[in-house]
């Protein structure tokens, strides 16, 4: 296990895309120390910015990187990783696990925006909250999260699962606006409440909201009421109103909204 902790607080963003089990594999501490990364517009060595300790010899398949301390300015940790494990104790910056293909990231703290950006596989678990654009692609791109799982035990911000094409995002508490915007496939499960406009522009996939929703977009039509929804073989108890949309995009995505928590949506039952 390699343990990294910042030597000082960072004032400007640090692009730590070299902090990944794929790159650390079969490298000695000396080699790891010599990895290059950018702090603002200055190129530095990993050992300039982080204190590096090696507690145990790594085998390629089970490389574990542990990060500790204030990492709020550190971006792109675990970018493109395909194996191994990263654990983070503390808050961490943007683009954590960007384009990751496999392996596991565990965060004991909060994460900034673009968690699991364009993710293709693997698993990310966050005990705290995540900011906006969970699983979303880079600006302008339409290649969202393809596969893998993101589990957030706290809240998440706006546009969770933007342009999502597959995989699963679970949020145990509340999410912001536009959950599942432009979604093409995959599943988003929100145990808490959701702000407005869930599923805007979605063409396929599932968004399940177990808490309160202020309203459902007028471009969604109600199908029926379901007692429960199945995700990954697990049953989420309902009952749920099931909507289809976004019709403005000729979509056939499914939006499930809890019936018990949303008495204001009762008028939809007239259309059944």
């Amino acid at each position: 296990m390699v343990i990294l902790s910042p030597r000082r607080p960072f004032g400007v963003p640090v692009y730590a895309d070299c902090v990944s089990p794929d790159i650390f594999a079969e490298k000695s501490v000396k080699e790891i120390s010599a990895l290059k990364l950018w702090e603002g517009n200055k190129q530095r060595l990993l050992s300039d910015l982080f204190d590096i300790r090696d507690e145990d010899v790594n085998k390629p398949e089970e490389v574990t990187i542990q990060l500790q301390g204030d990492l709020r300015k550190v971006r792109m940790i675990g970018a493109k990783m395909s194996m191994g494990k990263i654990t983070v104790e503390g808050d961490v910056g943007m683009h954590l696990g960007a384009m990751m293909k496999g392996g596991e990231i565990l965060v004991k703290g909060n994460v900034d925006s673009w968690l699991g950006c364009m993710m293709e596989g693997g698993r990310i678990e966050v005990t705290g909250s995540a900011a906006d654009y969970v699983g979303a692609p880079h600006r302008g791109s339409t290649d969202g999260m393809k596969n893998g799982t993101i589990a957030i035990h706290g809240n998440a911000g706006n546009e969770v699962g933007c342009y999502m094409r597959g995989g699963l995002i679970r949020v145990d508490e509340n999410v912001g606006e536009f959950a599942g915007i432009h979604m093409r496939d995959g599943t988003i499960l929100v145990q808490g409440d959701c702000e407005a406009r869930a599923g805007a522009g979605m063409t396929d996939g599932k968004v399940i909201i177990c808490g309160y929703v202020p309203s459902v977009l007028p471009t969604f039509t109600i199908d029926d009421i379901r007692p429960s929804v199945k995700i990954d073989g697990e049953k989420v108890p309902g009952p749920f109103y099931r909507f289809t949309g976004d019709i403005a995009e000729n979509g056939k995505g499914k939006l499930f909204v809890s019936k018990n928590k949303n008495s204001q949506l009762g008028f939809y039952e007239r259309y059944l």
Binding site: P137, H138, R139, G140, S141
Partner: protein, 569 residues
């Protein structure tokens, strides 16, 4: 500083040099007979190919349209980053690279002169500012005049001379180089949500047909004695069955030709060479177009080759861009430029497995191979519409090697492969023909006397490619060809070494060419009172820009290179 490029195999088709071992001497930025031997810096080009600097007749590299494309596509930037060095600036972008990056990448491929073919006259200032920021290469830009209200009105009323006076003023005002016509009449009709169906379909509200516009502007071009012909993007571009429109457009100006001089350049011809009634029955019309071009000398073409890649399409042809948007469902930009023209931008991915895209790929190569005379067709991708200009080496490898084409054929859509004419074509380009389609022919078509060749007095622009024509079988070793054309061993611009392999060593500034019409008292800087009065009145009525602010003075260009022309008025 003088330079002596020694022992290279020189390909200079304009001067009839076909791979002979020669020395090229450059002094004070010009090719000379003999450099002052003592001081000359010697470049050893033994075992290498020496060609004049490349010329690109059609590439969208600057202006409001390109810039809007850059804004539209941040995802195009993130994967293609050019870091700064001690002499160059950083930049980003794959299909629409930033200005500096564009200059560096062209120079690395041995290009030293590029033409930005569509500039809305209103955006001329912006375009020139961007061109100025495109280092190393020389530039020229063509204002869009085919849908300009006043040109349409004059031509409708048969007032060709008055139209010529206005066009001359516009060329001078925008510091343009040639007359560009995009979907004549159609772009204007698009302002009303319509398009023109063919050459004889009148433009709404104007009552003029595209045929009259093309013919009228062709006459104007002759009156003004412009160095380049009219540069035409045909009607119905990108619609199945449009090869007939393309041929009809060429035919419409046939009688205006004098002698063997070309009078019309049909640009990105691949997009205008579709047969069939709809996308399912779409086929290649390359054979018919090539047949026409082979039998007539008043036409030149450029390929507009499609490369299977993610790119950004952008043209002034609004209705065509709308069709692309409908096909792809991508984000898009649609723009109307006041009384002058319009524009559209759509990101697009050409896929090997798509029947239509694969057929388009095949059409471009068929055109290049079936047109017998390489002086009549030039290598372009209509950057970035068919693919970024950085894919030229790939296209060169397809042109020189049947094997390379067959390898790609195996990977494309099966139906497209079955219908492609490529398996029946054995022709393979020689290096001399490559030099023609990438530099000499283009320079000739543009009327640039000092570009595209290495005769005494020409500009000291040279590309030295690391490929030995004695040892390399182009057809078999097409990979070597591709790699050689991806980056030169040396690119020399104006007698200075600007790139060496991957490295840009001296990013000199390039010049901007424009046509300086030596106008009589009736034109230009001091035009006749009627023309001037008319223009002022129209500016007040229609434009958002004041007449006084519209004209770009020569001092606005940092490196102005006027080409003096005396019109026959």
């Amino acid at each position: 500083m003088s330079l002596l490029i020694k022992n290279g195999f020189v390909y200079d088709p304009l001067n009839g040099v076909k791979g002979e071992k020669m020395d090229i001497a450059i002094e004070k930025g010009k090719v000379t007979d003999e450099a002052s031997k003592k001081k000359a810096k010697i470049i050893d080009a033994s075992g290498m190919v020496v060609m004049p600097g490349g010329v690109d007749i059609h590439t969208h590299i600057a202006g409001a349209e390109v810039n809007a494309g850059r804004l539209l596509r941040p995802e195009d930037h993130i994967g293609d980053v050019e870091p700064k060095t001690t002499v160059t600036r950083s930049g980003v972008g794959h299909s629409i690279p930033s200005t500096f990056t564009t200059g560096y990448r062209y120079a690395r491929m041995g290009y030293t002169m590029i033409c930005n073919p569509s500039m809305p006259p209103l955006e001329a200032r912006h375009t020139h500012e961007e061109l100025e920021d495109t280092p190393i290469v020389d530039k020229a830009t063509f204002p869009l005049l085919g849908d300009w209200w006043f040109a349409l009105e004059y031509l409708r009323d048969g007032m060709v001379k008055e139209c010529a006076a206005h066009v001359a003023w516009m060329i001078l005002a925008t510091k343009g180089y040639a007359i560009k016509i995009v979907n004549p009449g159609g772009v204007e009709a698009w302002g009303f949500g319509r398009n023109v169906r063919d050459l004889d379909d009148p433009v709404p509200n104007f009552g003029i047909t595209p045929r009259e516009i093309v013919r009228g502007l062709c006459k104007v071009n002759q009156i003004l004695k412009m160095p380049h012909t009219i540069h035409v993007h045909t009607n119905r571009l990108g619609q199945p069955g449009n090869y007939l429109t393309a041929i009809e457009t060429m035919r419409s100006v046939k009688d205006l030709a004098r002698g063997d001089e070309p009078v019309v350049h049909i640009t990105h011809c691949q997009f205008s060479a579709f047969k069939g009634d709809d996308w399912r029955t779409m086929r290649s019309g390359a054979e018919e177009i090539a047949k026409y071009v082979n039998h007539h000398s008043h036409v030149t073409l450029d390929m507009g080759q499609v490369v299977f890649a993610d790119t950004t399409t952008m043209t002034a042809d609004g209705p065509w861009q709308y069709t692309l948007y409908e096909l792809s469902g991508n984000k898009w930009i649609n723009h109307d430029v006041e009384t002058e023209t319009g524009a559209g931008i759509v990101p697009f991915r050409y896929r090997r497995k798509s029947y239509v895209h694969a057929t388009m790929w095949s059409i471009g190569l068929e055109l290049a191979l079936l047109v017998k005379d390489p002086w009549k067709i030039y290598l372009t991708t209509d950057h970035p519409n068919g693919g970024p200009f950085t894919t030229y080496p790939k296209i060169i490898s397809w042109l020189v090697s049947r094997k390379a084409r067959e390898k790609m054929l195996k990977r494309i859509n099966r139906k497209a492969r079955k219908r492609s004419l490529l398996p029946s074509i054995d022709r393979e380009y020689s290096l001399e023909e490559i030099a023609t389609v990438t530099r000499a022919g283009q320079a000739k078509a543009l009327g640039l006397r000092n570009k595209g060749h290495l005769g005494v007095g020409s500009d000291g622009d040279v590309a030295v490619y690391d490929i030995d024509p004695r040892k390399t079988d182009l057809s078999k070793d097409y990979r070597i060809v591709r790699r050689a054309f991806e980056k030169t061993a040396y690119t020399i611009k104006g007698g200075q070494i600007v790139t060496r392999g991957d490295a840009v060593v001296k990013p000199v500034a390039g010049r901007t060419f424009w046509t300086d019409l030596a106008v009589s008292s009736c034109l230009g800087t001091d035009p006749c009172p009627e023309v001037m009065q008319d223009l002022r009145k129209r500016f007040r009525e229609y434009w958002t820009v004041e007449f006084e602010n519209y004209f770009i003075p020569e001092r606005f260009l940092k490196a102005s290179a006027p080409i003096a022309v005396k019109p026959e008025m």
